[in-house]
């Protein structure tokens, strides 16, 4: 994957008009909201390449699926063989490393009835979304698309499982109807009319018969910014999982907020978050996991470089990926100096606080 993305030409107008629709009176207000420079926002809106991370974030703010509006050409032309992914969440399991302990716990609670719920809590850029994608995909990815020896037999009958990925940053997920529709469509169930909670519960409780996991990414957004997704909504989901699906339904949520911030309920009945009996906190990778990531480079790094990358990244996955990407890039270019280190440090600067 390359390092930057630009908006597809045919989307430029839509992107520009989305500014107003999403409540941004000016480009400056969007830039302030996301915390980027005005020029980045301008570049984005005018179809000029911006950094991956920025691209994804701005797309989200404007209610777009970044993959949909990204210009594909840049993806294919720029070093597609690089195994290091730095901007977008990792969706191909072979590029995902670490989190063995968490995966074990998570799949342990998903592999028997009733399915239990789990929360993944980690700072921004700690790999929550990648982990959710990994959970969703790893058990059904064919072995030839995995690294040799990569464990994938976490579940006894992975083919029975249904996975629904919900990114609550996605504007379409921020309304009741949109979210419920997305879930029903992902489960290949008939969307009732009207598609309200009442009918949604009906359809799901009648039709759900195989283990199903709903992955809720950035649930904090859903709680804070979406008035439609209120206590009643979440309590209904809770009731669906606990009482109406014979233990077949579980939620896994990912959020940077702590449970204290998250678990604020305004009602008196048992709140939604009370069903999350297992919470995993994402920290840095273990050194062994970091080693494995570094070793996946198609051109082997010298021991000195590996040590340096480990030290500078403190084993945080994103920093590891960036530094590895830089090192690999310089090796591919045949550079012999240590400029890549400077570049790498500059690149990780924005994330140094994570």
């Amino acid at each position: 994957m390359g390092r930057s993305l630009r908006v597809k030409p045919e989307y430029i107008d839509k992107v520009k008009s989305a500014l107003q629709r999403n409540g941004y009176p000016s480009q400056k207000s969007l830039a302030d909201d996301v915390g980027f420079s005005l020029s980045t926002v301008k570049n984005f809106l005018n179809g000029i390449a911006v950094d991956y991370l920025n691209f994804v974030e701005i797309s989200g703010k404007l209610g777009f699926d970044w993959q949909e509006i990204a210009h594909k050409e840049t993806q294919t032309t720029k070093g597609e063989t690089s195994p290091f992914i730095t901007g977008a969440p990792i969706t191909e399991p072979r590029y995902f490393f670490g989190r063995e302990k968490e995966l074990k716990r998570l799949f342990n609670i998903l592999k028997r009835y009733p399915l239990q719920n789990a929360a993944i809590i980690g700072k921004k850029r700690s790999g929550k979304t990648s982990l959710l994608h990994y959970i969703k995909n790893i058990t059904t990815t064919p072995a030839q698309q995995l690294r040799p020896g990569q464990k994938s037999d976490w579940l006894p009958h992975p083919e029975n499982y249904q996975w629904v990925f919900v990114d609550l940053q996605d504007a379409r997920m921020q309304s009741r109807e949109g979210l419920l529709k997305h879930i029903l469509e992902s489960l290949q169930m008939k969307v009732p009319t009207p598609c309200d909670l009442d009918h949604f519960m009906d359809v799901v409780s009648d039709n759900l018969s195989s283990p199903t996991v709903i992955l809720l990414d950035e649930i904090g957004v859903g709680l804070q910014r979406c008035p439609e997704l209120d206590d009643t909504f979440w309590e209904s989901l809770r009731s669906l999982a606990t009482n109406h699906t014979r233990g077949n339904l579980a939620f896994i949520l990912a959020t940077p907020q702590s449970p204290i911030e998250l678990a604020k309920s305004t009602g008196h009945s048992s709140p939604f978050f009370n069903i999350f009996g297992y919470t995993a906190y994402l920290e840095a990778l273990t050194e062994a996991e970091a080693w494995e990531l570094i070793a996946s480079s198609p051109i082997a790094f010298s021991e000195v470089d590996v040590e340096w990358i480990l030290r500078e990244s403190k084993c945080w996955p994103l920093l590891l990926q960036i530094l590895c990407r830089e090192r690999l890039f310089s090796l591919e270019e045949g550079e012999t100096d240590n400029n890549w280190r400077e570049e790498g440090l500059r690149q990780i600067q924005p994330f140094a606080n994570v």
């Binding site: 309200d196 909504f233 009482n243 604020k264 309920s265 009602g267 978050f273 009996g277 297992y278």
Partner: protein, 869 residues
């Protein structure tokens, strides 16, 4: 060559060859050159036996004796008792013995005693004289000795028999001396011609004693046998050739010189031929007898009968050469096993060329029970005429010597490919294929796959054996014990693998947290007392509505799911969760439809009752009336039973009313109507609030009886910790269990949370200590539980107490585990704390002890002790 034959020169029985580390030296048993008995008489008999059956042993013994003589080379050394014994045996005892036997036979046949005596006298003097001459002369070739000693034996007997009295003592003496001298000086047998010519001349001239025809015949036999024993491996062609030579150059001249009739020459030739081929025809004649003997031996051995132990005893007592235990033989211990195999004629009749029936069976039987002995037997047989059995024996030995699965997997590598191709025996092929399969199976990386592969190999091996047995293959029968040995090894290995897996296997976490337990989960524990109380209240004629009241995560919903098991069969529990569809419905139709649907679904799952169908459309026109009519139908179906309608999370309905979605008079009025006018329905609400906290409910529902659900009883909690499911593989030290109880106060959620974390921690530990939870594991588990269960604690902190309550909790928590804080201290810190304290008490977070307060649950205290404002 001059060498020192150890077996003769060394004092008998003093040293043993180094091979004799095991209690039995099989090499001594299975040898073509056995040691003679030390007993002179028995030794002589044995020599005689050797002469007939074991020419190699005979020749060897003579050779040893001779080399001993040449080594000593003087009469002085006759003090050497071994040498003396050999000589005396050869020249004195054997002749006496043979003559005694012969004499007895002749006596029975009517020979005069005088004749008998003279035969004996001649015989013995002949032998002694012969022997003396031989002993005095310096010796060069052992070949001559072999011949002369054999001749001495046979000649002594035969001449004595023929010559009778007339020869007598003198004759015997001189004849013996003469023969001895002539043979010694001429040395080589090849010069027999000259000898015979000379001999006849000398005899004639000195004694003018005619060689009658009888003498000639007997001489021929003696000469033939002596020649035969030395060259016992002659084939018939060579034998014929020698016979011709003998006839032409010996028999013919003698008979001619003596003027005997011409017919004597062919007779001499024939008897010479018979003598020379003695080791060819003798085994054929004896074969049936020997076969009978062998089969009996095998039968005795297989039955391990009385006869067997007797045979062993005789062997031991008489010869004391083998250290055997008597009686019981434990086949499992190789060293103690001792077989009768060496009695088989294959091991003492070396001239037997006809294959001995069942020798293979006997050999394999011995290999099965004692491979060391079997190996020695095979080594022996390899040099014998019964070589045919060696190949099969070697395979059997190979298979038998497999001690473990690794050696089995290596077997096929020890057999050359072209050898495998040449194999015709399908049974041996089965073994080799099995070995290859096992080799492949062991290359499987995962223990599980190895087990699967090995199991199927074992099954196949067994099946192949069975089918071979059914086809009456002899080799299948012979090899079946070895198949069993292999099967044992394979099965043992698989068993050990399984054990290893079990040992390494992680402990299954049976706990289910934060999700209600339905009937499918066996982990639901206890609560009998609550069931009993609910039952009593249902039977109460005043029909009070019930409230199952308990804090969050105390197991209310799990109890409701499982209450059917705690109540009499005529009470039909019907559970509806108000938090879901009913409360989220947008109108009464939706609410009542979802209520009915919940009732229908639950009864379908948990009881045999089938409630009538109800659709939204049915309800649409007049929801409450339609629902009421539906309830009538339900009552009919209930018949004599009572329905316990349980509405879980009743607070959710209150929220809906508060938001104005429903009118309280409609909803709560309907519930009151149900309580008052439908005696077949009992109502149970469940929630974490009391009715008093919901004023409007209190006014509609009169006389609500509260059923309190709280911590588990200690016994129930212990069961949840130590035996949550059957075959739970984690044990707790007693103090560890006590500590878990202290931390959780038997709170069902917290017990499961903490124990689940302990299991996770244990699974990360080495398998050797994995299965025992200690105090330290509990402490480590607490740290993890506080993180993993943070939503539970966050809910308490955020939603169940107010700001002041939180601060009071932190204040009390700061005092440490189990510490009580006086109300005075709390009021000093928090003036006007009354309401907050009351709320905390109501939430069952703290308890009042003598005007002091402390946390009810240590784990919750730990959370607040570490929580920041």
């Amino acid at each position: 060559m001059k060498y020192l034959p150890t077996s003769i020169v060394e004092p008998h029985g003093q040293t043993m060859p180094s091979q004799e580390l095991s209690s039995t030296n099989y090499a001594k048993l299975y040898t073509s050159t056995p040691e003679p008995f030390s007993n002179w008489l028995l030794g002589s008999l044995q020599l005689l036996f050797w002469f007939v059956f074991r020419p190699t042993a005979w020749n060897k013994y003579i050779q040893q004796t001779i080399s001993c003589i040449s080594y000593i080379s003087s009469f002085n050394n006759l003090r050497n008792s071994k040498l003396l014994q050999s000589l005396i045996q050869f020249y004195v005892i054997i002749p006496i013995l043979t003559n005694l036997t012969l004499g007895l036979v002749l006596w029975r046949l009517g020979e005069s005693s005088q004749n008998l005596l003279s035969i004996a006298v001649f015989n013995i003097t002949f032998s002694i004289a012969f022997g003396l001459v031989n002993s005095m002369m310096p010796i060069n070739t052992t070949e001559d000795w072999k011949f002369s000693m054999s001749f001495c034996l046979v000649g002594g007997v035969i001449f004595g028999l023929v010559e009778g009295v007339t020869f007598g003592l003198i004759g015997g003496l001189t004849f013996g001396l003469l023969f001895g001298l002539v043979l010694r000086s001429l040395g080589n047998l090849g010069l027999g011609l000259i000898f015979s010519e000379l001999g006849s001349l000398v005899f004639k001239s000195i004694y003018s004693m005619p060689f009658d025809s009888n003498f000639c015949v007997m001489f021929s036999i003696a000469f033939g046998m002596a020649f035969g024993v030395k060259n016992y491996n002659l084939n018939l062609v060579t034998a014929t050739f020698f016979t011709l030579i003998f006839s032409i150059f010996v028999a013919f001249p003698i008979s001619k010189n003596e003027g005997l009739s011409l017919s004597v020459t062919p007779v001499m030739g024939v008897v010479f031929f018979l003598g020379i081929t003695f080791y060819i025809w003798r085994p054929i004649i004896l074969h049936p007898l020997l076969q009978l003997w062998n089969i009996s031996l095998y039968t005795i051995e297989k039955r391990r009968s009385f006869a067997y132990s007797i045979l062993l005893k005789i062997w031991n007592i008489l010869f004391g050469r083998i250290n055997l235990p008597f009686g019981k033989n434990n086949p499992k211990n190789n060293c103690d096993y001792f077989s009768l195999l060496h009695y088989n004629s294959a091991f003492w009749d070396e001239c037997q060329r006809i294959p001995l029936y069942n020798l293979d069976a006997h050999l394999l039987f011995v290999i099965e029970h004692n491979p060391i002995e079997g190996n020695n037997a095979i080594t022996f047989l390899n040099k014998s005429h019964q070589k045919w059995v060696v190949k099969i024996g070697e395979y059997a030995l190979k298979f038998r010597n497999c001690e473990d699965i690794k050696s089995i997997s290596n077997i096929h590598k020890t057999i050359l490919i072209d050898e495998i191709e040449k194999l015709t025996d399908p049974v041996i092929n089965i073994f080799i294929r099995t070995s290859q399969d096992i080799d492949a199976a062991l290359n499987q990386r995962s223990n599980y796959n190895q087990r699967i592969a090995l199991n199927s190999i074992a099954e196949r091996l067994n099946g192949q054996l069975e089918s071979s047995l059914q086809n009456h293959k002899k080799s299948a029968l012979l090899f079946s014990p070895f198949v069993k040995i292999w099967l044992d090894i394979i099965n043992n290995y698989v068993e050990n693998l399984a054990k290893e897996v079990e040992q390494n296997q992680e402990i299954n976490n049976p706990y289910i947290i934060a999700v209600p337990l339905t009937l499918e989960q066996v982990i639901f524990t206890g609560r009998d007392d609550i069931g009993l109380r609910i039952e009593q209240l249902i039977l109460d004629r005043r029909r009070p509505p019930l409230l199952l009241y308990g804090q969050r995560r105390m197991g209310k919903t799990s109890l409701l799911y499982n209450i059917g098991n705690l109540l009499p069969i005529n009470i039909i529990p019907i559970l509806v969760d108000l938090q879901g569809a009913p409360a989220s419905a947008s109108d009464y139709t939706g609410f009542l439809y979802n209520l009915a649907k919940g009732m229908i679904n639950f009864t379908k799952k948990q009881s045999a009752l089938k409630l009538p169908h109800l659709t939204r459309e049915d309800l649409a026109d007049d929801p409450f009336t339609e629902f009421d009519e539906w309830l009538d139908e339900v009552e009919e179906i209930l018949a004599e039973n009572t329905a316990l309608l349980m509405l879980d999370e009743f607070e959710a309905l209150d929220t809906a009313i508060s938001k104005g979605r429903f009118d309280e008079a409609d909803i709560l009025g309907m519930l009151r109507h149900l309580i008052q006018h439908r005696p077949k329905f009992k109502l149970l609400l469940a929630g974490s609030h009391t009715i008093e906290e919901y004023q409007r409910w209190a006014s509609y529902l009169i006389n609500v009886q509260v059923v309190h659900i709280s911590y588990l009883k200690e016994q129930e909690a212990r069961q949840l910790i130590e035996a949550p499911v059957q075959d739970f593989t984690l044990r707790y030290e007693p103090e560890a269990v006590t500590r878990v109880l202290q931390f959780t106060r038997c709170h069902p959620f917290l017990v499961q949370l903490l124990c689940g974390e302990i299991i996770t921690l244990k699974n990360e530990q080495d398998p050797s200590i994995r299965r025992l939870a200690r105090l330290a594991d509990v402490e480590a588990g607490v740290r993890e539980a506080l993180k993993v269960g943070s939503f539970f604690f966050a809910d308490i902190q955020n939603n169940q107490v107010d700001e002041r309550g939180r601060n009071i909790l932190r204040f009390i928590a700061g005092h440490g585990e189990g510490v009580v804080v006086s109300s005075q201290a709390i009021f000093n810190q928090f003036p006007n704390a009354d309401n907050s304290l009351r709320l905390l008490l109501q939430r069952e977070l703290i308890e009042n002890v003598d005007d002091c307060y402390r946390f009810q649950v240590e784990l919750i205290r730990r959370w607040f002790a570490s929580s920041k404002e």
